[in-house]
């Protein structure tokens, strides 16, 4: 194996078809779009990629001290983070409780089975009435979108822990806290983590969706909706592009990093992880 690696010292982007072919293809697509914009495609609806890119740069560069795009981005990210912290904190606590105690499970179950299938955005109008426009409505919807998947997965993870392990810990005289920290949590970590991943994806979708209808000042969703009102399509494309990049970054870089550092190191293989 090591021999093979040593012989191929060429820069890997030159030999890796998986990178070079798609790059060429996407480049060609963009070129086609660039040429067709204004001729076949209406420039108003489909501005040329170069225009979109220029818009991206303009919005990214600081104007009067702050970059507009970064402000929108950070507003969305802040809402996502706050929602995730609230949602997963309570989700894990309630999940552990309902995984350990059947009567708590019976208490939470009706809520889970009602709220889990309901899209976060469907709840948005209710929160808009109760809390008004802006952050409170968005963050409540986002936290709920994260809360229920985390709760559900945590409690089912706790319940799958092998009772032999718990008995072993008990025989060795573990306290309740020790059992929780050293047996229950590590052995259900993969479930909790997949719930958390689902929570991130749901919360992100919900935050963006609710921003479209209920944001008051900043946020990527708000930016897009505002741009549509002024028919600035290039801003809309910039928004969608940034959203995709941001989510890819969160999913691949951040979650991948945490996964490698924690659950894979604890001996779970990547294949065991649940997608989405």
């Amino acid at each position: 194996m090591t021999q093979d690696r040593k012989t191929s010292v060429k820069p890997f982007f030159l030999i890796n078809k998986k990178i070079i072919y798609p790059t060429i293809f996407i480049g060609l697509l963009l070129l086609l779009w660039e040429q067709a914009s204004g001729i076949g495609l209406r420039a108003q609806l489909f501005p040329a990629p170069s225009t979109i890119f220029r818009q991206l740069i303009t919005m990214l560069l600081p104007k009067e001290g702050s970059s507009i795009l970064l402000c929108h981005l950070l507003a969305s990210l802040r809402r996502l983070t706050v929602s995730l912290i609230i949602g997963s904190f309570f989700g894990i606590i309630f999940g552990i409780a309902s995984g350990l105690r059947p009567y708590i499970d019976a208490l939470t179950k009706p809520f889970v089975s009602f709220f889990l299938p309901i899209p976060g955005i469907a709840l948005a109008p209710i929160f808009m009435i109760l809390f008004g426009f802006g952050d409170p409505a968005i963050i409540t919807a986002g936290s709920l979108a994260a809360f229920f998947p985390v709760l559900f997965n945590t409690s089912s993870g706790i319940r799958t822990v092998n009772p032999t392990l718990i008995n072993a810990a008990r025989i060795m005289g573990a306290t309740r806290w020790q059992k929780l920290v050293h047996v229950y949590l590590p052995w259900s970590a993969i479930h909790i983590f997949s719930g958390f991943k689902l929570g991130i994806s749901r919360s992100w979708r919900t935050v963006i969706a609710v921003e479209l209808v209920a944001a008051a000042d900043w946020g990527l969703g708000y930016m897009i909706m505002q741009a549509v009102e002024y028919l600035q399509m290039k801003v809309v494309y910039v928004g969608i592009f940034v959203m995709a990049l941001l989510y890819l970054f969160i999913e691949k870089a951040l979650i991948g990093f945490v996964e490698r550092r924690t659950i894979y190191r604890w001996g779970y293989s990547p294949e065991q992880g649940v997608r989405q």
């Binding site: 996407i26 179950k109 955005i121 469907a122 209710i126 009435i129 109760l130 963006i208 209808v213 549509v228």
Partner: protein, 252 residues
């Protein structure tokens, strides 16, 4: 199991009773309806035909968009899996599109396709399409090569290879993701209906309109409908899984 069902039922009953007394003793804000008020709104809307109409219009849009997404997604996924070249080229793009929240398309679609039902159907389509394409591709790729080889040595045509080997073989990956895709599509539908302001009917529209009158009763009625449809879809896919994967014994 049965015991737990009873407890859950009792819990729901308890919540309703608490809610009832909370609204009798004016603990809740004035516009917050009581359980009987919600039920009344639900029945009134059901009987005068508005609720069924909203629901049916939404369902028609959902099924149209989702079935197009299934057919196209299946075809594209199959093509991607059968050609190494195409899959190398298109796979990164697919990953990029998968990570865009579907509702983010809606403002764009509104400008391009107008504020009507077309936008909603296309949003539903986008919600389902990428997921189904991805899972078909992954499903076919994970079929053991020996199965394909066996079929090939028995001399089947490419079409039969696809329909008899690849299609059933990819179902363990496709069916769970169909559930996911239906969820995305349903989400996209509700979001798109809220934003497409020229619509008159649709469950998302109904909830969103109720906001102007602070009418929580209508919203609750809408939520119950949204929940029931989501559950129904879940049940339908589960049944489909049982009928195919369960019967063939290839469930994962």
């Amino acid at each position: 199991m049965k015991n737990q069902r009873v407890t859950s039922f009792l819990v729901v009953l308890l919540i309703i009773v608490l809610w009832h007394y909370a609204s009798i003793f004016k603990i809740l804000p004035d516009f917050f309806p009581s359980p009987t008020g919600t039920l009344k709104v639900f029945l009134r809307m059901f009987l005068d035909g508005t609720l069924p109409r909203h629901l049916i219009e939404s369902l028609v849009r959902l099924l149209t968009g989702l079935s197009i997404a299934c057919v196209v997604g299946f075809a594209v996924g199959g093509i991607l899996a059968s050609s190494a070249f195409l899959s190398t080229i298109l796979y990164p793009l697919l990953g990029f599109f998968l990570s865009i929240p579907t509702v983010a398309w809606v403002p764009l679609l509104i400008v391009i396709f107008g504020l009507g039902a077309r936008t909603v159907v296309i949003a539903v389509f986008l919600g389902g399409f990428f997921e189904i394409t991805y899972s078909t591709y992954q499903g076919i790729r994970t079929i053991p090569q020996s199965l394909t080889n066996a079929a090939r040595t028995m001399g089947v045509s490419s079409a039969r290879l696809f329909f008899d080997v690849h299609l059933p073989g990819s179902l363990p990956s496709v069916l769970p993701s169909l559930r996911l895709a239906a969820g995305y599509a349903w989400r996209a539908l509700v979001g798109a209906e809220m934003l497409s302001s020229m619509l008159r009917w649709g469950i998302g529209k109904m909830i969103f309109e109720a906001r102007y009158w602070n009418d929580l009763g209508v919203m609750f009625a809408g939520l119950i409908c949204i929940w029931s449809v989501a559950c129904l879809f879940e049940k339908a896919v589960a049944l489909l899984e049982k009928r195919t994967l369960g019967k063939w014994g290839i469930a994962r």
